[in-house]
């Protein structure tokens, strides 16, 4: 088995532009990390029950539940963090506020902290992840060998992870800011890696580059770039070039169609040539974007596009592809 590129990393944060499949990649990575007898927690924080939909299980409560068994043994657990529940837990854990916690709720403080206050919500969500990452068994070992966070999209990730900055702009001293400082310490340490998911299109790749720069500036360790939904070209390099210039050999195509027993003639040749041109155009664009991804100089993994959509079998396939490339 190849050595993982991420030895020593305990918290894997997965982000990406909307529509690039970051939840799928987070789940596949979690399965890959769990395989071989490990215990991994996959956390979602966007309150959209993406994990339940992906693994086809009932909506997850605010509780760690087993989602799947990994290859060669290993357990994948899932958790959907709810900001409000996390707030109660936080108040209870750090301030022993039982009844007073409920009084805060009546005054609108819980809603304020979980929906409006800058950074508070993020402290609660990352705080829960932080707690799970550091949680230990009675024998001293970590409860989870790794934690994978299905994080907010690229547009919001840097602010989300810069909890310390957000909170200290509001509360410069006090326990909230101390708590935020502890989370920041983990997030900016080599025990954390933030992986960015993209597809080979101009805007997602541009956002990936922007995000890598922003995270670097914020002192947050960037992990890999995961290129998702990669389709292999169906034509040879020479045919692609000819297709783009509209110079495919029409006579040869037509001859092939006749041999295959297809007699639609010119109109079918036109259509196939047009499809080939569009395909070639996209392949050329993907090539440009792949160069842009390479210029980011990060470990890069490619995941195949699965035409039938993502189910559990698909997740195992993607997980295996990640392992093979050294992601786990």
């Amino acid at each position: 088995m190849p050595v993982s590129d991420w030895e020593g990393v305990r918290l894997h944060v997965v982000t990406g532009k909307g529509g690039t499949g970051k939840t799928t990649v987070a789940a596949a990575l979690a399965l890959a990390l769990a395989s071989g007898g490990h215990k991994v927690l996959l956390v979602e924080v966007e309150e959209r029950q993406g994990l339940a939909q992906l693994f086809d299980v009932a909506p997850l409560p605010y509780e760690e539940r087993r989602l799947a068994v990994a290859r060669d043994g290993g357990d994948l657990f899932g958790l959907a963090v709810d900001a409000q529940q996390a707030m109660y837990e936080y108040l209870d854990l750090y301030y022993r506020l039982g009844r007073a916690g409920r009084a805060l709720d009546r005054m609108g403080i819980i809603e304020f902290a979980t929906t409006v206050a800058p950074g508070m919500r993020d402290v609660l969500l990352t705080g829960k992840t932080y707690e799970a990452t550091r949680r230990r068994r009675t024998d001293g070992g970590f409860v989870y060998d790794a934690v994978v966070l299905d994080a907010p999209p690229t547009g919001r990730i840097t602010r989300f992870l810069s909890v310390n900055a957000a909170v200290t702009s509001l509360a410069r001293v006090g326990p909230v800011s101390r708590h935020a400082a502890a989370i920041t310490e983990l997030i900016s340490s080599p025990r954390t890696a933030v992986h960015v998911v993209t597809v080979l299109e101009e805007m997602p790749v541009q956002e990936t580059a922007d995000t890598v720069g922003d995270l670097d500036d914020a002192g947050i360790p960037v992990g890999a770039v995961v290129v998702n939904q990669v389709r292999r070209p169906l034509l040879t390099v020479r045919d692609l070039a000819a297709a783009r210039q509209g110079r495919l050999d029409r006579l040869m195509i037509e001859a092939g169609l006749r041999v295959a027993g297809l007699t639609q003639g010119e109109s079918l040749v036109d259509r196939l040539a047009a499809e080939a041109a569009a395909h070639a155009e996209r392949v050329a664009l993907e090539k440009r974007e792949r160069t842009a991804v390479a210029a980011l100089d990060r470990p890069t993994y490619e995941l195949p596009w699965l035409p039938d959509g993502i189910d559990l079998a698909g997740l195992y396939e993607l997980g295996a592809a990640l392992s093979d490339q050294g992601a786990a």
């Binding site: 959209r48 007073a100 809603e111 509360a171 541009q206 499809e275």
Partner: protein, 380 residues
């Protein structure tokens, strides 16, 4: 499955109707909201209407194509519009902090406004509170509508956790700013103690203690100064949010929900459609972007695959085999997308739908936007 076709979303009909004054484009992240908003605005302008498009967070090159080189919170005329019909297109990018500052400058004395602008709590509020962007987008929309300089305002919505945030976040922030919580937070400690006592008969000591412990005394001090300076504006924030919300319910407004055939995006679109329905808000239709197109002529996926398999056994005609495989793959995608669109329509049979095909390249100039515009109105 019931495959009754959806009603066609007549985008030109909507754009040309002079009663349409506001178009709100909403949907989850990455579905092409900003591009759709810009394409709709451009098409309306080139039809002869005076249009302003309010974008929230456009990609750099799209912004450049609209002449938006700086974020200055002012509508600027977009050059290069075909204006034979007398139309005009202005574009602006939302600057949420500037918009917030302007509200204060307009409603407080210069001295008080200055105090508020310098307050650390206000600075956090205006730049990083969740919901501020949505509140300010609504506020800007209300302002643009009140100026009455445009026939049509097209709004792109902020990239939120949920598309519903655009509707809910302004109210949440307004309630917070006008609510009892901020007043309680803002009261000097001793008077505050009595206020807590009135509000909560029991447990008040624990609450005040908890607040100070959790938030720290310094923050409370900032909030107190902020609230004292804000006093003349209480009641105003929620009222402003409510007014714009009411504007969104008027028949002159049209919501355009944008999605792709991806399952997550369609799910979000469904939530939004249901919410608009329950709030009696005017939904014009659904734009399905990035659809893989199936044309009625040609071969079926099955025929193409079978033909390719026959050719493979001849060990010849490699090019034709590849082209048939490509054709089969395209048809498969098109079938998948149509199947998903049909499922949406089965759940929401009255929502008109228009489909925009997957374009091989990204759109970042006026020519590209025009192309998207003509795809939006094409009958299929």
């Amino acid at each position: 499955m019931n495959t009754r076709p959806s009603a066609h979303f007549d985008v030109d009909g909507l754009l040309h109707d002079t009663r349409t004054r506001i178009i709100v484009c909403c949907g989850s992240g990455g579905v092409g909201k900003t591009t759709t908003a810009a394409a709709v605005a451009l098409r309306a302008a080139e039809h002869g209407r005076r249009v302003v498009v309010l974008t929230i967070d456009p990609a750099r090159r799209l912004a450049q194509s609209l002449g938006l080189t700086e974020l200055d919170n002012t509508p600027r005329q977009v050059p290069g519009i075909a204006n034979a019909g007398g139309g005009r297109l202005d574009a602006m990018m939302l600057d949420m902090k500037r918009t917030f500052d302007e509200i204060l400058e307009a409603h407080a004395t210069p001295e008080k406004a200055g105090k508020i602008l310098a307050n650390p709590f206000y600075q956090a509020l205006s730049s990083s509170f969740a919901g501020t962007q949505e509140y300010m987008a609504m506020e800007k929309l209300g302002q643009l509508r009140a100026r009455d300089e445009w026939d049509l305002i097209v709004v792109d919505t902020p990239p939120s956790r949920s598309a519903l945030d655009f509707l809910d976040a302004p109210e949440r922030l307004g309630s917070f700013l006008d609510g009892r919580l901020i007043r309680l937070l803002g009261m000097p400690a001793r008077a505050g103690g009595r206020a807590y006592l009135r509000v909560l008969q029991a447990g008040f000591g624990a609450v005040t203690g908890a607040l100070t412990r959790v938030l720290g005394g310094e923050l409370l001090g900032d909030v107190q100064t902020f609230v004292a300076a804000l006093d003349t504006m209480f009641g105003g924030f929620r009222e402003r949010a409510d007014q714009t919300y009411a504007l969104l319910k008027r028949p002159e407004t049209a919501f355009v929900v944008v999605s792709t055939p991806e399952l997550d995006a369609l799910r979000e679109a469904s939530y939004f459609v249901e919410r608009l329905g329950s709030d009696a808000m005017p939904l014009a239709g659904l734009v399905l972007n990035r659809m893989h197109r199936e044309r009625p002529d040609g071969l079926s996926e099955h025929q193409a695959t079978a033909a390719a398999d026959r050719l493979v056994s001849t060990r010849e005609h490699r090019l034709t085999t590849s082209l048939l495989r490509l054709h089969a793959a395209n048809l498969r995608l098109a079938t998948r997308d149509e199947h998903r669109a049909a499922r949406f329509t089965a759940a929401h049979p009255t929502v008109p739908v228009t489909r925009v095909p997957a374009l091989p390249i990204d759109v970042n100039d006026l020519r590209g936007l025009r192309e998207v515009g003509s795809e939006l109105v094409a009958q299929r």
